[in-house]
Amino acid sequence: MTTIDRFEIKRLQVIDESGNADPSVLPSLPDSMYKKFFETIVLARAFNSRALSLQREGRIGTYPSILGQEASQIGSALAFDAADWFVSSFRESGVFVAMGYPMPLLLRYWMGDERGMQCPEGLHIYPMAVPVSSQIPHATGIGMAMTYRGDKKAVAAYFGDGASSRGDFHEGLNIAGVFKAPVVFLCQNNQWAISVPRSRQTAANTIAQRAYSYGMEGIQVDGNDVVAVYKAASEAAARAKAGGGPTLIECHTYRLDDHTTSDDASRYRDKNEVADWQKREPLIRLRLFMEKKGLWTQTYEDGVTNKALEQVDKAVAEAEALAPPLTADIIRYTNKELSPRQLKELKEHGG
């Protein structure tokens, strides 16, 4: 028996739970970047908790909380530029917020209004994909198109641990590997797919190691460490843009809330597990780290929080002030040019 190949799976943590940085991996970032991390997490969290209460009040529909996953989402999103493309699942409010997607639009989407996914000019954020993992091949194709056009851009593709069990994950990553598509595959491993724990999702030890199945780079990062996520994603984005091909990053994090507002996680998961992860939630360590650097004070945080709440308030007001969607739009947007039958139906539906 000969050994024909060897692999190692690495895990990156930059800032530990006490807020101490590992100097061997600490990137040199301007202070403003840490502030940006902090402020975006606060904003995303404010958005998220408002969305949860809007749902309870019946003002939006079912909503999937991102609580606990903010570092994974925001650390990765901020590693990309506005010219890059984002392909997401349904649990990426943090990514949308980080990229400056108008929050009123985001709310409209969760109100059950398709206009919420009408991405504004200048941003390249794909509409959320509800069928889990089915968006992954799109990222591959977008990446291939970037290469085709010679555009030095990358795609950030988001999906969960559950998604990594599906065939489209496999086909999407494999094709990306073959064509060296400039895609950063960001698995948000939040340990649960509704009621199925990571350990029952696959018998593999990590999601990161699947990178080797596709001949691409792979790494697991501490997904509650925004700096680690940012560092890994930035390196992957740079490599992608330089023609070095795709990367699979497993952000090892945790879904602190229920799966969605329709779910009751207490049916299937242990309170102690949640409490344990609660201690590791991303803002705690970022706060400690920034405090040590002299970047954090309570006053600073209060200011950030107030500003975030204001922004969210404004967004809610704006979203709710919008005229209701037109029935005719159902038909109008089905095709660019409507058939005679569709035109007839458009009329019947008030168009």
Binding site: V130, V132, D168, S262, I331, T334
Partner: protein, 330 residues
């Protein structure tokens, strides 16, 4: 005690979720080859709680929580079925079965034919379909027509707790694959008398939901109730299709012969819907009896919208009523 013309021991009031749960439970009890398999069907009891309590009662060998993999689940169930088990798959929403269509179309439906009977596929796929729960995109599909076009596959759609329980038991005992489409809108909408003991209802038979002589209305699943609502005051005969494939030609034909008019009410987008098939059947076999055009009242040619507009997509009572009136004008 008697219920729907049969002697029964006890009746209980159940909604459709409870009735389906009872059918699953009783079939698991009756036949050790029955297993439940799907995403979140065990510990969580299913996202609609349809399989609630079954894991505790029958254990994880028989109530199997799987990875997130529709094609793999249906594919594995095909394998289980040909080994001799009777897997009952849950797909969380009909919009997520599309990933498994190759397994449904190219394998489950064809196994018997392909192997000339050497291997069979006694498999049930249960999935909630349809508009009405204000859920996100792809949680409101009613694409039953796709499945009705596939030889080898049966398609069943209950409209009440009673027929849900009896038809599901029949589907599980059927030696061929059955797609069992549950109207999510009706899951908890109706509580009705359901026999406590196990019973079956025949696959392939429609039910006269309401007798009448002026107009035949064919509907199925959640739309049945809307179709009936809109028919108030008319002497309409309403046929609840129940089995969409093979549908009950005889019951439809007899009714048309009596009424001379046919309206089909469906939730799906019109073009290529099951309504087209029913209409075409009538246009071939009963045109001589028809006094009026056959009218389909269906969804427009558009993607099923999200919550805000979903009620504008399904035919409204008014639209349905207009369709009846159009036909009654002849």
């Amino acid at each position: 005690m008697t219920h729907k013309g049969k002697d029964v021991m006890a009746l209980i009031k159940q909604n459709m979720v409870q009735a389906i749960n009872a059918a699953l439970s009783q079939e698991l009890e009756r036949d050790p080859d029955v297993v439940i398999i799907g995403e979140d069907v065990g510990r969580d009891g299913g996202v609609f709680r349809v399989s609630e309590g079954l894991l505790d009662r029958f254990g994880p060998k028989r109530v199997i929580d799987t990875p997130l993999a529709e094609l793999g689940i249906v594919g594995a169930a095909v394998g289980m079925a040909s080994y001799g088990l009777r897997p009952v798959v849950e797909i969380q929403f009909m919009g997520f079965i599309y990933a498994a269509l190759e397994q449904v179309f190219s394998h489950a439906s064809r196994m018997r034919s392909r192997s000339r009977g050497a291997f069979t596929c006694p498999l049930v796929i249960r999935t909630p379909y349809g508009i009405g729960i204000k859920a996100p995109e792809l949680h409101s599909e009613s694409s039953e027509a796709l499945f009705c076009h596939m030889p080898g596959l049966k398609v069943v759609m209950p409209s009440s707790p009673y027929n849900a329980k009896g038809l599901l038991a029949s589907a599980i005992r059927d030696d061929d694959p059955v797609l069992f489409l549950e109207p999510s809108r009706l899951y908890r909408a109706i509580k009705a008398d359901v026999p406590d003991e196990p019973y079956t209802l025949p696959i392939g038979k429609a039910e006269i939901f309401q007798e009448g002589k002026d107009l035949t209305i064919v509907a199925w699943g959640a739309m049945l109730h809307k179709a009936a609502e809109a028919a108030e005051g008319l002497d309409a005969e309403i046929i609840d299709l129940l089995t969409l494939k093979p549908y009950d030609e005889e019951t439809i034909l007899n009714s048309i012969k009596k009424t001379g008019r046919l309206v089909i009410v469906e939730e799906a987008t019109r073009i290529g819907g099951l309504g087209a098939e029913i209409s075409a059947f009538a246009a071939e076999e009963a045109i001589g009896y028809l006094a009026a055009p056959i009218v389909r009242c269906a969804g427009p040619e558009a993607v099923v919208p999200m919550a805000r507009l979903e009620d504008e997509f399904r035919p409204s009572t008014e639209r349905i009523r207009k369709a009846y009136e159009r036909v009654m004008a002849y």
